[in-house]
């Protein structure tokens, strides 16, 4: 049984709201950098950046962050996680990094991402923006900007599909 929870219009409205919240919280976007976690987070980060540009009229840097090398399950997995590119086009020291991911679940990816960011420099703050928070945290981690809270059970999966990956925009619960 799969159920569409969000469609294209919903996702677009959510991104618009999150962009406004990011601006409000940081009183503008002057010392801000968006960093998307490979791969789903990168698409969301680019969309938020485009929205910020619409609102504030300024381009904001979007970085990509690969967390494969920082995962805590590297010794227990059967296969090595795929290593993708990490490219953060701005100087991280002293600025606010907004980490972006598609789904927040156990929080382990975010822990890995924070370690990866710290190896790139010392940001003045790290904030977290996620499109979907599905609960079931295994670490004390909380998002600053949440698109939608979706209560789930452990055996369900939440899939974020985006046009960037060649599908239509939707969030599906299975």
């Amino acid at each position: 049984m799969s159920k569409e929870l969000l469609d294209k219009t919903d996702i677009d409205r959510i991104i618009t709201r999150m962009a406004h919240e990011i601006i409000e919280r940081n009183k503008g976007i002057s010392s801000l950098c968006l960093v998307g976690i490979q791969r789903g987070g990168v698409h969301i980060a680019r969309r938020i950046s485009a929205k910020l540009k619409e609102i504030e009229g300024r381009e904001i840097a979007v970085g990509t962050l690969d967390i494969a090398l920082y995962r805590d399950d590297i010794n227990v997995r059967k296969e090595q996680p795929v290593v993708r590119r990490t490219q953060v086009p701005c100087e991280i020291n002293g600025i606010i990094v907004v980490l972006v991911d598609d789904v927040l679940f156990t929080g382990r990816s975010i822990r890995a991402a924070m370690d990866a960011i710290m190896d790139l420099g010392r940001p003045s703050a790290i904030q977290l923006a996620v499109l979907v928070d599905r609960g079931h945290r295994e670490l004390p981690i909380k998002a600053d900007f949440v698109g939608k809270n979706i209560p789930t059970s452990m055996d369900e999966t939440v899939t974020v599909q985006l046009t960037e990956d060649g599908t239509k925009d939707s969030v599906v619960l299975e």
């Binding site: 090398l69 590297i74 296969e79 290593v83 490219q87 190896d119 790139l120």
Partner: protein, 307 residues
Amino acid sequence: MSLRSKDLTGIKDLSAEEIGLILETAAGFKDVLGRDIKKVPALRGRTTVNLFYEPSTRTRTSFEVAAKRLSTDVINIAISTSSVVKGETLLDTAKTVLALGADIIVIRHNCSGTPHFLAKNINASVVNAGDGTNEHPTQALLDLFTINERKGRIKDLEIAIVGDILHSRVAKSDIYALLKLGAKIRLIGPPALVPDCLKDLGVRIYTDMNAGLDGADVIMMLRIQLERQGKGFFPSTHEYFRNWGLTAARVARAKEDAIIMHPGPMNRGIEIASEVADSSRSVILDQVTNGIAVRMAVLYLVSGVQG
């Protein structure tokens, strides 16, 4: 996707997809090398042993740096100061190293096939760092990575490999790898060092350097092993340079944007002129840096496959 084997014994055993996976993974590791903190915790708690039965500085150092950047502990065993001189067999040495807690053994040996023998007999991952005149797979992988970085592809490129093909494990690994990815290869050198039978691999053979370099996209020079001089392979180093040395005039025969590669250490004035080695088209130092990224990728990927 992952590698099929816990070991990297040679390019011969890899599929084109596996080579592609290693190169893509290496691109991610190259990002790491460009940072202030050039280290990731991926293989924390693992141990890499460098077992070198032949002298080597650059390959051993490159593997050592790669392993340390991945947070593994590294132990270097120099055979000249080890129990091997007391008569210990290779397998006994390897088993001892395993008992000390090694997860990955990087081995260089003057006998072809040593890594294959070791890989079959122990559970740790074995990585070939050069075996006799057989293969030097990580050198070929870093060459491919460097070519792809500069040219954006490997397929259909015209690659000229110049020098002592017969004795070169680097050349063999390069030929296997480049053919698997669809490049076109010309081998250039004295007839005694580039025997005609190599044609069977699907490459073209030239004894005339100028003809061989015509329109090449990549010029890969090999080191002339000076210990072979005086054994009848070529008359003298002076004459070698006159016929097969890479000079600026000869580089001009290749494509305008051709790149020049050399696995090192270079013999300036024997196989390559200094002005060429130091020119803007030379990617020789890029090869050294890329070697670390590629070896990180190999260590990372083999340690993900169960023995």
